[in-house]
């Protein structure tokens, strides 16, 4: 028997250094729209991905008439950087049809998402099948091609292709739980779609049909199963945890941006781990809403614990992001943090 370090580390693997604050990375509702009117109750699940230190997630369902129902979130999964929380709610035949909201809060920040509750009649189920990617593994910088088919139920158990619909390609990196949209593609005549992206990072890909605009109320949304893509790259992967506070306030207030830069270390014969990456310059970028022009608003050098802290004026509402541009990409790859929106009133 051996006391194995990495297992101890696994139990405490949430990186404590740098101390980014809690952020809500995503709020998802499944299914959307929620089909009611059938025989039984329909259970919708609400998934929230948070980053930063562990914090309880609380949430409410807000009905079209503004009435609120509490949701009990339980943590389902976690990675070194993020946690996935899930709550369920059963919608009965008598639930109000219309636009609902799920409002969640964790560690002082809030997030919300709208979703639809609709009568089942006239709502056709859709699905994405045969979602594949190739090649796997792929070398960094090479092309990665996806294909799949968007279908809707036509008869009892017959499925037919849905042409001319937009499907979004979603990606989440290894060790992350929140997905980001990478590309959109329109389905062909048979409902098939194909897309090509440049491979940059290993992670999970999925395709999502959101049933927007004309399909709203006629088709359910659908998401494919996740498919993993392994990307061979020379330099070690890096990652930035990042949070910004306060989220809203007056123009030109000072906001604090804190986070930590990590590098993925893969010791032989051991599982990979994330070590703090010290004394590297990270830059804070600002993208004012609608302006489309990004600019660097500050920079900092990470400490021995990989942590950084910046205070900058918030000139207007916009997205902030921290980037690490590696000086030695053969050893340490560049990376970007998730974007954080700060608003002014």
């Amino acid at each position: 028997m051996t006391i194995i370090r990495h297992l101890l580390a696994r139990l405490l693997r949430r990186p404590v250094a740098g101390a980014a604050l809690v952020e809500i990375e995503s709020v998802e509702v499944d299914p959307d729209p929620v089909p009611i009117g059938g025989e039984g109750r329909v259970v919708a699940t609400f998934e929230v991905v948070t980053s930063g230190p562990s914090a309880e997630v609380k949430g409410d369902l807000v009905a079209p008439d503004g009435s609120r129902t509490g949701l009990g979130f339980e943590r389902e999964e976690r990675t070194p950087f993020e946690e996935r929380w899930r709550a369920g709610h059963a919608f009965g035949r008598d639930a109000a049809a219309g636009t609902w909201r799920v409002v969640v809060g964790a560690g002082g920040v809030t997030g919300e998402r709208e979703f639809e509750v609709r009568f089942e009649e006239g709502l056709r189920r859709s699905r994405i099948g045969g979602f594949e990617l190739s090649p796997d593994p792929v070398d960094e910088g090479n092309r990665l091609t996806f294909s799949g088919r968007l279908e809707a139920v036509t008869g009892k158990e017959d499925w037919g292709g849905l042409p001319g619909r937009t499907v979004a390609l979603l990606f989440r990196a290894d060790d992350l739980l929140s997905r980001t949209e990478v590309a959109r593609v329109v389905t062909g005549r048979s409902g098939r779609f194909e897309a090509t992206v440049t491979a940059t990072e290993s992670g999970f890909w999925s395709a999502e049909f959101r049933a927007d605009a004309e399909d709203r109320g006629r088709l359910t949304a659908a998401r494919s199963a996740e498919v993993h893509s392994a990307v061979n790259a020379a330099g070690a992967q890096t990652k930035i945890t990042y949070s910004a506070r306060p989220k809203s306030g007056r123009r030109n207030r000072q906001a604090t941006h804190i986070g930590t830069l990590f590098v993925r270390v893969q010791p032989a014969g051991q599982p990979p781990r994330w070590d703090p990456l010290p004394q590297q310059r990270v830059r804070l970028w600002f993208d004012p809403s609608g302006a489309g022009a990004e600019s660097v608003r500050g920079s900092a050098t990470t400490g021995s614990d990989g942590g950084f802290r910046l205070r900058e004026k918030v000139p207007s509402t916009g997205d902030w992001q921290v980037r690490f541009d590696s000086q030695s990409p053969a050893q340490r790859r560049s990376c970007k943090s998730p974007a954080r929106r700060l608003t002014t009133n």
Binding site: M1, H6, E76, P267, S304, S328
Partner: protein, 1188 residues
Amino acid sequence: MATVLLPGDPRRLGGYWLAGRLGEGGQGVVYEAYDEAGRRVAVKVLRPAGGPGDARARARFAKEVAAARRVAPFCTARVIAADLEGPQPYIVSEFVAGPSLRAAVARDGPYGPGELHRLATGIATALAAIHGASVVHRDLKPDNVLIGPDGPRVIDFGIARTADMSLTTTGHVAGTPAFMAPESVLGARTGPAVDVWAWGAVTLFAATGREPFAEGAARLPVRGGGPDAAGQALTGVAALLHRILAAEPDLTALGEPLRGLVARALDKNPEARPDADTLLATLLGHSSPGGAALLAEGTRTAEGLGPSRAVAPPSLAAVAEEAYGALVPADQALVPRILLRMVAPGEGGDDLPRPVPEDELLDGVVDRETAGRVLSGFARADLVVREGETVALAASALLRAWPRLREWVDADRAGLRVQRPLTEAARMWDLHGRRPGDLYQGTALETALGWAATARHHVTLNTLEKAFLDASRGLARVRARRRRRLTAVLAALVAVTAASAGLALDQKSSAERQRDVAVARRLAALAETSRSSDPTRAMALSVAAWRLAGVPEARAALYSSLAQPLRRIDPPPPVTAGARFDLSGDGRLLAVADAGRAVLWEVAAHRVAGGARGIGPAPDAIALSPDGRRLAVSGGGRLRVWDLSTGRPLGPGFGNGALEMTFGPDGRRLAVLAPGHRGQVWDALRGAELLDVRDERAEGVVVSARHAAVLLDDGRYRLYEPVAGRPRGPRRLPAPGGGRADAIAFSPDGRTIAVGRGEDVRFWDLSTGRRRGSVLEGASAVWLAYGDGGRLVLTFDGTGAGLWRADGGGLLAYSTPEDTTGMPDIRVAAGAAGGPVLRYLLSGGRVATVDAGAGARSTVVSPSAVAAAFAPGARTLAVSPAGKGPLLWDPARGVGLGPPLGGTPSGALAFPDVRTLASVPAGEAPGHATTVSLWSVPDGRPLRRVPVAGAGSVGGLAVGGGVLAVAPVAEDYEPVRVWDLARGAEIPVPRHSGWDVMAVSPDGRVLAIGGRDAALVDLATGTVTGRPFGPVLDGVRSIAFSPGGSAIATGFHEAGVGLWDARTLRRTGTLAPEEGRFDDVVALAYSPDGRLIATGGTSGEVRVWDAGTRSPLGLPYAVHTGRVLALAFGADGRYLYSAGQDGTLRRYTIDPERAADEVCARAGGGLGDDDWRRLVPEAPYRKVCRAT
């Protein structure tokens, strides 16, 4: 760009290892080379003049090289060394990473006005410096101006050359005397003015891209209305020389003021040319020439030139690093194994490449594919060459130039010296038909075995070497038996000849000592190999080894015995394959049901404590009550409970058998997973059914004195209150946690239910239904149990067992049982030594006993810690918890010393002396000047504050010799500031940014700053040495000075620890992590005698190293559950202390005698007489453990 060395090229000149050819010129060949320390240099090997002029020429060379070394380093490549006496005279100069001016112009075209001005200024600066040292260059030309990353550098100055050298050696770089001054052409006496001419010509060349006196570039004066007939008739070199003497160069490409200056410099009359100082002053716009300030200004002006033109040829290290970086991590890990086989270790680090037959590599060292990938990657980069069946390093310079390879070699040098002969001996043995006579024996065998067992870092044995060692060891055993017989005969002879005793006795004791050393080494190696299979014996062997001889290997084995968590593995009584086992609540008793009888077995004492007969031939399952008194047996579709003290059944059989079963904490209720996956609870004493869940498929049943939980196969569970005789059956209760669970346990008092679901375990109060206590985060429990009377919770996640505090939720230990099959059967109890002890069943009924504390005393000093520091000699520990002022502890006694100091949480702590603590606030203090607070340690009183003006916060603190160094932060790290604490005055230091890793030498004279831009600041002279610890990817992560200040240890990320001579800054060694156990060394400490070094990592690992042999002393201690913040040895060196981010203080026994006693206590005694005779046949038995 350097090209590979050619067959006739030298491989080494003096202390320089040649790596490739940079160029070839009239005077010789220029090579890229590396010195001992890996510094990149240019080595010019001069072609000897030959004949009688040779000696004269050498003397002149020597004189002028000496002069050249006086030249101030402004825009010149410094001459570092020269050997003009040897058969191959050579000159070593600074390596300039960039193309020559000729190459730069050929590639990017002529220079524009701005760039040209900077270039001209740079060359003029160089000339002013060269002439200032009374040296004349005499061969300034575009090939001798290199465009480095920080501006132009003039090379090859001060090297004597005669007219015939330049004129007769053609076809190389120089080729033509295009930049020769008229007076040189005429063979007149030449002075500094020839260089000024050349400056003009070179400047013009840079502006036009053409040699100024090339055909068509210069106009010949027209005399008498016709072209110069003589000039027209000449061709080639003669025509060129004619144009130099007579033609006027075309200066139209130049703007003012350069044009006027170049025109004056190209005056045919040397007297009319300006001197270099004037050139420089004019270029810089000054009226008066001269002075070092001007040279510095010229250098600065020229610096702007570099980046756009300079494309530095990558250094050998960069090429190697790139080839290495291109490999996937798994292949990278095998690179040292492959490359180290290509190294023949020399004396004093004078290592050489060794051609390796490919089959040696493929013989179990690496697989063919990996070898192919690694070797072809390195071969493509010209780092490795294949010659027939062998592969070898392309240049020995790689051994100096590539820090990574150097570190591997340094770590294994001693081992390589053992392995090289071993490789050859094994090959010979194999080649000659594996004859016993070719095997190792005696010292050679001991050394090889000792190294193979303990001291390897990257080197692996191949299959042939292993076979050779095994055969050698086998033969040695046979010899030892023969020798024992022989010894008896000799003993008789010795008795007869004892008359001449004096000398003989001396010899004998010396021989005994040698024998004991050899035996101690062997036992230590044996201890390491048997550590996981027979931990008790490993501990006993380590003590025996240490008591025989205090060799480092024995000491290492001793420390490993303390660090090893597994204390013992006890076998069951003899059983058949059909035996069933269960442990009592504390794991001290083992019930064995086998062949119709049950035995209660005392695990540690190996004796029977009770039993029963007639329990049935082949039981399906058994359960032992926690107190070990009752045994439930399932067989033949019935259950029966036996009293093991009386050997009688409690009553008749009941129920319908069990797949699994377990008693409740009180031993009265029996939870049964019955056939058909029914969940049942029985009254064990009366055989009455209390619960039977048959409507859904049960996967497990847990029971307390009052409640029962049935786990269903779909992840749900049900909670019941089974009551005998209740008309409507057992009462079903709402199940906490949403009725979903992977694992369930009831506290022994029955009040709390622990529910493991997903990653976490949560607790609910069963009477109120409310959540209670904390969460066991990340436990991922598939099995759960309470232990030690409910104080501890044990979780199993399918891989390992976690031990947690039930109240605070903190993880105490995590262990991976070696071979539990399926669900574990783990018990936890308070150990005799205080720390918790885990006992669990291994296959075949063996019981493993594990000390969860694993050899280090643990004291919780704070829930968590941000910063920590030990006072000198570990007399006091200061820790800074998050959100509170620092706390003081007495590490030796493990007790707190009063309330927190002040109210401000601290970001960094340091003890200037045993009575004073320095602290700085964590984070920024808006509106306040940042101050360093000094506290009186004995009474916790504030002493004074040292304001750090202009700083928003302080990132790092270091103290030593009465000096306090502070790394202020305002936006970014600011220049470090230093105070003399005795005088209270700030000491002026050169500007260099501080960092949160710093150390001050014990005498307070030197400040070491870590990070990527590491530096040593001499506080007495104010000089700064940049990058003293080499270029490191992630910088220096920790620094410690040895107690005398003569050595410095630096911790790196994944690259171990570098050891340096503090005076010369030469690397004296490396503490290299073993393969696969890389860590980030963030804490370092020297023992008071400087012989040991302790390292602490980001992962919480603490380990001890022998500073002399640079080898690890024992297994790492895996005790902290987070980064190690501080390490210190006690003043007497008996203990090592560590403080971690997890808020614990740990103590490790370092004094080997004390460690031996502790190991004896853990092992329950030393080697027995029989074991000794078997394992140590060479030496007489001795008792190695003191009686306790």
